[in-house]
Symmetry: C2
Subunit: 151 residues, 2 copies
């Protein structure tokens, strides 16, 4: 069991914008559905407009989480598991998203050498403050910050 | 409640290869850690080699799941939630991955109009058959297949 301690309370990231080219590029590779690829098809779809793949949102949320943890002295290594992930509404072109992170106070051992496990409650919000996705995930955090630094 | 029925049993996808350029391109955008970006840094890292972001694996798994469901008469619309996702080992450059899908027999209502919810147990395996990730997810499946077809 590590002796590392976690900052208490909540952390909030910056917002990042989701532009059309990024939504389409992600969808072409991973989620090639018409409402992620083509504005006209999307307008006629059940979502009513071009919107990002849910996995695009999850991946961007992880980037925001890792940056926010690093900025707060927690050297993020990788997500190791997710126990809950729900997409509650589509994220449309030019919406911005950010994350609000609640750190679980109890830390656990990790299967990755040199790291410990930190449970995170993550709300992904748009620029109006509406929650677009929620996730409970466990991240491996380096016990020694230098192991996540490139030589 | 929909009257759609689900094919029973297990479905298996094709394998797709994870090359270095794809791993690095995904990581630059979403998970910029040295073990996902630079072969030399990765060899000296806790993972011992250049490996894909876990979210890259999850996104590719979703692509394989959607293709496999469509090929089996289930018009995939989108994942709506994940109740379990664990990455059990890294996926290194030039490994291939595929999915094995077990369809839950019970179907439920979905929050997306015109769809029903299908729970899926997904094993993501490499070309040696080793499980690299497991996921339990709920997918929205179109009750009417034409709604997922671009005009």
């Amino acid at each position: 069991m590590t002796t590392s301690t976690s900052p208490s309370g909540h952390l909030t990231s910056d917002l990042i914008a989701l532009d059309k080219s990024a939504i389409v590029a992600f969808a072409r590779r991973f989620d090639p559905q018409p409402y992620h690829l083509d504005a006209d098809a999307a307008e006629q779809s059940i979502f009513g407009g071009l919107c990002a793949s849910g996995w695009h949102i999850a991946a961007l949320a992880t980037r925001l989480v890792s940056q926010t943890l690093l900025n707060n002295g927690l050297p993020f290594v990788e997500m190791t598991s997710v126990s809950h992930l729900t997409w509650s509404r589509p994220t449309f072109v030019n919406e911005k998203i950010g994350v609000r992170i609640t750190l679980d106070a109890s830390l656990a051992d990790s299967s990755i050498a040199g790291t410990y496990s930190q449970t995170l409650e993550v709300d992904v919000c748009n620029d109006d403050g509406a929650v677009v996705a929620t996730m409970t995930a466990t991240a491996a955090i380096a016990a020694d910050p230098t192991v996540v630094t490139a030589p």
